[in-house]
Amino acid sequence: MTDLPPPALRLTVTHGALGLTVDVSGDLDLDTGDHLVETVTEHLARHPEAPAVRLDFGELSWIDSGGLSALLMVHRRARTAGRALFLDRRPALLERLLRQTGTLDHLTARPDQDDTAGADAT
C-alpha cells in the first residue's frame, strides 16, 4: 500500500467537563477551513450540554486568510449556539494574524461582554 502523506489539517476532538476541545494541527487555510467548520458544527449539535468550544492551536503550523475566515465562522456558529469560544495555545503566527486583522478581541470576547469588547483595536 502507498503511504499517503499526512493530511494538511488534523483535528482531534475530545469531550470533557470544560466542553469540546478540538486540537487543530497542521495547516488551516482556504482548502482545509471548511473541515474545521463542519467538524465543530457537527460536535456542537451532538453535545448540546457542552458549555464551550476550545480550539487548541498548539500544533498549528500555518494559517492564512482562508483559515481565519473559517475561525470567524466557527465563532459565529458557537455564538449562535450560545457557547463560548476559546482559542488556546496560540502560536505567534496566529496571534499576529488576529492582531493585524483586528479579530482577536472579537474572537475571544466572552458572550456576556458582547462585541463592545472588540471596539478597542489599537
Binding site: 475566515s69 465562522m73 479579530t103 483595536a121
Partner: protein
C-alpha cells in the same frame, strides 16, 4: 462408399497415362473415406476420382468422373491443374471459400499421378480473426476519435470534427444537432468528401423521429424504426441528393446534460446500418458527447472568467496631481481561479483634493472572491464623497458586505493622498491589512501605525488612521501578503517575510515609484522561482524629487515623464 471402386473409372475415363487400377486405393488407403475433413481425389486431367463422406456434404451432387472444374470452386480446380502439371507453389497449399465456409486445401500426390486434396475447415478461425481485426480497428478508431476531439476545447471545432469523423467512418452524411439556444439549433453538416458547414436555424426537431428524445438524452430509437422517407429536407447536407436508405439518430451524452444529437445518413445505394454499426455509432456518439460537453463547460467557464477578469484588471497608474503612483499585479499562476487582490486609484477632482488609493485582498479564490472584489470596488466608488472619513467609509462598506451565509472577508488599506508644496500628505487606514511601509530618503523603512479590523465578517469594525508626510524622493508602499508570504528561496520553502521586504525597500530609497514596485515584483518572482505563488499586488506612492526630475524622467517611466511635463 466403395473403396475398391476407387480406381476403376479412371481406367476408362483417362488416356495417355500409365494405368494401375490398384494404386489409388493402395496409396490413399481406407481410412480417408471416414476422415472428419473433406478429402477429394482427382486424376491429373482434372477428373473427379473420389470424395469422402465429409466432402460429399459439400458437393452432394458430385459423382465419379465429373470434371473437377464443374464441381469444385475455381481456386481449387486451378490449384489442382498446377499441382498435377508438377509446378506446385511450395507445398501447393491453397485456400478459398466453398459455399459460405472457408477451407485450406493441402495436396498430396498419389503414385499414379492422382492428387489427393485434404481440406481443412478454417472458417471459424477466419471469422474470429476478422472479428478481432474489426474490434481492434473500432477501438483504435474510438481512441483516435477521443484524441482528436479532446485536443480542442473549442465547441465549434469539436462539432465539426465529430461530423467529419462520422462521415469518414460511419455514414455518407452526418448532421450534428446542438442543444437549442432559445428556439434555434446550431446544425453542423458533413458529407463524405465534402466540406463541413454550420448554420443556426429554428428547425422543428420533432419532425425527425427520435431526435427530440435524443436531445433530451434518452436512448436512441433503433434505426429500423425510422422511415427514411419521412425525414424533413433540412436533415440532409446540400450535397447529399440521393434517396436516404437508412438513418441512425444517436444522442450525444454529456456530463449530466445532453451535448446534442448526431444523425447519420446512408443512401439507399449503400448497405443499411447493421446492428453492429448501430452499436458502434452509439459508442462513437458517447465519445463525441463527452468531448463536446467538456469543450462547452470550458468555454462557458472561460467566458465567465474573461468577463470577470476584464472588470478586475487593475488600472494603469500614473502621475496624478503631482504625486507619483505605480502599481503592479501578478496574478497567481493558477489561471482558472481568479485571485482576490485588487487596487484602485480614484483621483481627486482637483490638485487640492485628495486622491483615494485602495489596495485590498479578499479571502478565498475563484468566483466567490471575484464577486466580493467587484462588490468592494463598486461600493467604495459609490462611497468616494465620504472618503474624507476613513472610519465611516469602512463602517458603511462593512455593512454592505456583511452576510449571514459566510464569513468571507477582505482586508484593505485606504490611502488619501494630497500634494502639499513639495511634500505629499497621506492619511492611511488599514482595515485588517498589512500596514503600509514608508521608505525614507536615508533608507529607513517605517511601518505605519495604522490598525483596524477586517471588512465583511464582523458586526462592528474599528480603525485607527495614521498621518504620514512624504518628503521628495520618499515612497509609501501598499502591498498584499502575496509579497511576504511568497514561498521559495534557496531551500524552496522559506517565506519571503517582512524583514526581507524591509531590507529590499531600504535599498529602494530615492527610487521612483515605478522602479520600487518593479523591484519588489522582480525579487518576489525570483524568490518563488518555478514554485506556485499567490496573487501579488503592490502600489507605490511617491513624492517626486524635484532636483532629480531629469534623471527620473530619463528612465522613461510614465509617472516621471508626466511629472516633468506638469512641472
Amino acid at each position: 462408399m466403395g473403396r475398391v471402386r476407387g480406381a476403376s473409372p479412371r481406367v476408362f475415363g483417362t488416356s495417355g497415362s500409365p494405368v494401375d487400377p490398384r494404386s489409388a486405393a493402395v496409396s490413399v488407403g481406407a481410412a480417408w473415406a471416414h476422415a472428419p475433413y473433406p478429402v477429394i481425389v482427382a486424376d491429373r486431367d482434372g477428373g473427379l476420382v473420389e470424395l469422402n463422406a465429409a466432402a460429399r456434404l459439400l458437393w452432394s451432387q458430385a459423382v465419379r468422373g465429373d470434371a473437377l472444374w464443374d464441381t469444385v470452386p475455381a481456386w481449387l480446380a486451378e490449384a489442382h491443374g498446377r499441382f498435377a502439371d508438377g509446378v506446385p507453389d511450395g507445398t501447393g497449399e491453397v485456400s478459398g471459400a466453398v459455399a459460405d465456409r472457408f477451407f485450406e486445401a493441402h495436396p498430396t500426390p498419389a503414385d499414379d499421378g492422382d492428387v489427393v486434396w485434404w481440406l481443412i475447415d478454417d472458417t471459424d478461425r477466419r471469422l474470429a480473426e476478422a472479428a478481432l481485426a474489426g474490434a481492434r480497428q473500432r477501438s483504435a478508431l474510438l481512441a483516435d476519435v477521443s484524441s482528436q476531439l479532446l485536443s480542442t476545447l473549442n465547441v465549434t471545432r469539436c462539432m465539426e470534427a465529430t461530423a467529419r469523423m462520422a462521415t469518414d467512418h460511419l455514414a455518407e452524411a452526418a448532421l450534428l444537432v446542438a442543444p437549442p439556444q432559445g428556439r434555434r439549433h446550431q446544425l453542423t453538416y458533413a458529407y463524405r468528401g465534402g466540406p463541413v458547414s454550420q448554420v443556426t436555424a429554428p428547425v422543428d426537431v420533432h419532425a425527425v423521429p427520435g431526435l427530440a428524445e435524443a436531445l433530451q438524452g434518452f436512448p436512441p430509437v433503433p434505426a429500423r424504426w425510422i422511415d427514411p422517407a419521412s425525414l424533413p429536407s433540412w436533415v440532409r447536407p446540400a450535397d447529399f441528393t440521393e434517396p436516404v436508405g437508412s438513418v441512425i439518430v444517436a444522442p450525444l451524452p454529456g456530463h449530466g446534460v445532453p451535448a446534442g444529437a448526431l444523425i447519420l445518413l446512408r443512401s439507399s445505394r449503400e448497405q443499411a446500418f447493421s446492428g453492429d454499426e448501430e452499436l458502434f455509432a452509439r459508442l462513437f456518439a458517447a465519445r463525441a458527447g463527452a468531448a463536446l460537453s467538456a469543450a462547452r463547460l470550458y468555454t462557458e467557464q472561460a467566458s465567465i472568467t474573461a468577463t470577470l477578469m476584464r472588470e478586475l484588471l487593475p488600472p494603469r497608474l500614473e502621475n496624478v496631481h503631482g504625486v507619483e503612483y505605480a502599481g503592479a499585479y501578478r496574478p497567481s499562476r493558477d489561471n482558472e481561479r481568479i485571485g482576490g487582490d485588487f487596487y484602485d486609484v480614484h483621483p481627486g477632482t482637483g490638485p487640492t483634493e485628495e486622491t483615494l488609493v485602495v489596495l485590498g485582498d479578499v479571502a478565498g479564490k475563484g468566483l466567490d472572491a471575484a464577486v466580493l472584489t467587484g462588490k468592494i470596488r463598486n461600493t467604495l466608488q459609490a462611497l468616494l464623497p465620504l472618503a474624507t472619513d476613513h472610519e465611516r467609509t469602512l463602517t458603511l462598506l462593512n455593512c454592505a458586505l456583511l452576510s449571514s451565509h459566510h464569513t468571507r472577508f477582505a482586508t484593505l488599506v485606504l490611502a488619501s493622498v494630497r500634494r502639499l508644496g513639495s511634500t505629499v500628505e497621506l492619511r492611511l487606514t488599514s482595515a485588517g491589512h498589512l500596514a503600509p511601509l514608508i521608505v525614507r530618503s536615508d533608507g529607513t523603512v517605517e511601518e505605519t501605525a495604522t490598525r483596524g479590523s477586517l471588512i465583511g465578517a464582523l458586526p462592528k469594525v474599528t480603525s485607527a488612521t495614521a498621518n504620514v508626510t512624504l518628503r521628495p524622493g520618499e515612497t509609501c508602499l501598499l502591498y498584499t501578503d502575496g509579497v511576504t508570504e511568497a514561498r521559495g528561496g534557496p531551500l524552496g520553502d522559506e517565506l519571503f517575510g517582512d524583514h526581507r521586504l524591509k531590507r529590499v525597500l531600504a535599498e529602494c530609497a530615492g527610487m521612483p515609484a515605478e522602479a520600487v514596485v518593479e523591484r519588489i515584483q522582480m525579487l518576489t518572482a525570483q524568490w518563488v522561482g518555478s514554485g506556485s505563488h499567490d496573487d501579488v499586488a503592490t502600489v507605490a506612492i511617491s513624492a517626486p524629487r524635484g532636483a532629480d526630475l531629469t534623471m527620473a524622467g530619463g528612465q522613461g517611466r510614465v509617472g516621471s515623464t508626466m511629472y516633468r511635463r506638469n512641472g
